[in-house]
């Protein structure tokens, strides 16, 4: 069940500790406390027994570096996909650890998680505007957001109708609705996800004074629902008042 107050406690603690971005497992925990699905996962520390850590996780798995000094994990080689065997996972961890050591970065551990079912990559984000407060954004992932800047914004809190109109505003919305024989995603999947982030009881709305910026990128959406595969949450600097 969503638990906004637990999420608030996490964000407040991060602010008290200097306002640094939440690490990926913590950011995802905040999302899941607001009702967004995140992959089943385990945090593995260097030296942990991988085979034991795997536990009930179903392959294929994604391995991700957890390191406060790396801004873009995939650019750094901190993401490895499609892993199944403990041996392969151990080898990938060793390689990432070596790269961290060479760069002089602090290695905190690894995130091992189930890969999302196939679907469309979507970005949901937010930021705190100094005049209007929290603003939510949605866009299609990959080139649609990065090259074409095909995104829609709304001021929080949004209503279900606002969320649907955000989708209507996207040039690429036909892709989500099954154009070119692609996966058809019911609007309700994204509307629910947008409301979980920016609705009346959403993450951004409830913690309006605590969150400076948010990226959920990608959110993988399919007929089966939406899964937040990566998340970045930057708290407002400590002591800052809106």
């Amino acid at each position: 069940m969503p638990s906004s107050s637990a999420a608030g406690a996490i964000i407040e603690q991060a602010r008290r500790q200097g306002g640094r971005p939440l690490d990926e497992p913590t950011a995802k925990r905040v999302l899941s406390l607001h009702g967004l699905r995140t992959p089943r996962s385990r945090v593995v520390k260097p030296g942990d027994d991988v085979a034991q850590a795997l536990g009930p996780l179903q392959g294929p798995l994604a391995l991700k570096l957890v390191c406060p000094d790396v801004l873009h994990k995939s650019d750094f080689g901190g993401v490895k996909l499609g892993l199944r065997q403990a041996g392969d996972i151990q080898a990938a961890m060793d390689e990432m650890a070596a790269r961290c050591a060479a760069a002089g970065y602090r290695l905190e551990g690894f995130l091992l998680e189930e890969m999302a079912p196939p679907g469309h990559e979507v970005v949901i984000g937010g930021f705190r505007d100094p005049s209007f407060g929290q603003v939510i954004m949605v866009g299609l992932g990959g080139i649609y957001v990065e090259v074409l800047r095909d995104v829609a914004f709304r001021i929080c809190p949004i209503t279900p109708l606002d969320a649907r109109e955000m989708l209507d505003e996207l040039q690429g919305v036909a892709l989500l609705r099954g154009a070119r024989g692609g996966v058809r995603v019911p609007d309700s999947v994204l509307v629910d996800a947008l409301l979980a982030v920016g609705g009346e009881a959403g993450l951004l709305t409830r913690h309006a004074d605590g969150i400076a910026e948010l990226d959920i990128n990608p959110l993988i959406v399919s007929a089966g629902g939406a899964v937040a595969v990566d998340a970045r949450l930057i708290p407002c600097p400590p002591g800052e008042k809106p």
Partner: protein, 499 residues
Amino acid sequence: MNTHPHRGPAPDDFGALFRPATIAVAGVSARTAGQGNKFIQRLRAAGYRGKIYPIHPTESQLEGLPAYPSLAATPEPVDYAFIAIPAEAVPPLLASANGRVRYAQVMSSGFGEGGRGGGLRDALLQAARQGGMRLLGPNCMGIYSPAGRVTFTDGQLGEAGTVGVLSQSGGLSIDIVRSGEYRGLRFSGVVSLGNCLDVDPGDLLQHYLDDPGTRVIGAYVEEIRDGRRFFELLRHAQARKPVVLLKGGRTRQGQRAAASHTGSLASNDQVWRALAAQTGSILADTMDDFIDALVALEQESAHAAAFDGRVVLFGNGGGASVLAADALGRLDLDVPELQAGTIAALEQLGIPPGAGIENPLDVPANILQRDHGALARRILDTVVAAERPGVVVVHLNLPVIMGYRQGELMDELVRTAIGLKADLPAGVRLYLVLRSTGQADLEARRQAYANLAMQSGIPVFLGLPAVARALAALRRYSRFRVSRAAPQAMAGAAAASLS
């Protein structure tokens, strides 16, 4: 999150500002023509009927009126104080008002604009609180209120009306009054807000939303400190009155430190477009579009029926009609083909060859002149009755039409439009476009015809692209209201439009 639209205690009643019974004026000179002198002369020219109290530390008589040494020394309390004295003298003047002034408008600048005078800014706000008044400005033109006979413009005061405007630019507030009145807008008020140290855009927005005398609202804004309140007011209002926004600085790059993807994609423009989408406000790109949208929307809150986007175009000029249909089509408006029954009815009218019996209705001037414009009226009546379009645009090209019978044909066609307006069924709107080519003699005639039509309540536009953009604004407004209407209200509106 604060979702309550009010800040502080009860919202102010701005009535005393728009219809002041007593006005104090600081900045009146015995020797030179100061801003205060000019203001008093304007009040007199406008026929202001209340009391005027010049404020001066030493003079006892100014502009033929007894002068008083302070705001606390006037015979009666002051509804509105106009202050145009050097910046450093303003705080002590306000601080000594002793609760006897309701609104002080500070025209003077030097309170932190351009990064200078920040200390005086704080002193000014402090003084206004100490004096017990609301502060307008500083660095603003003040109030234009035809009903209250108070003005910041020279020349004749316009008629009072139902358009309420707030502006964060003094210069543009004058432009809005002048070009708005030229286009037939009649104002319930135009307020220049300046630096918004106290009274801010949200305060005026709330006033206009609540004011029964205001039916459409315009705002020129640059920076709104409390954007959240502005947004909440608009959202709460659900576009029950049309609101047209002209936002300066939308393309400016924000100083937002973007550590995220989302932050790097965000811009001021994006946030304002979001606000417009969520509140049904119209976001204009230019001053012309702003005025055009106000002209198009002035009567809209009284219209029960939503505009469904269907437009019938009628006028002379084949190419112009085609381009107009393109302009409308690009903006998501519909110039639908006429139904078979409508065409059959038009064929009964004996329209000579040369006129198209399709939408757009291209009717050359030599056919328009049949029966002194009566054929034009029959065509329009037939199409309106059969099609019930949301909008009829009648466009007349003056340089051509004025060549017929020394301009008599033009007189007849404008009368035809006025007659049509009077007989339109509910839910059909008439917009008139008077096209011309810039020659001075034609411009004078055009303005005379525009005035005639505007006096009959017909919105008049000066070009077809302009009317297309204004109708797009009307369409957005109407669509928002339909989408946000409660189901039972929608059913009621549907029933009303069928009856």
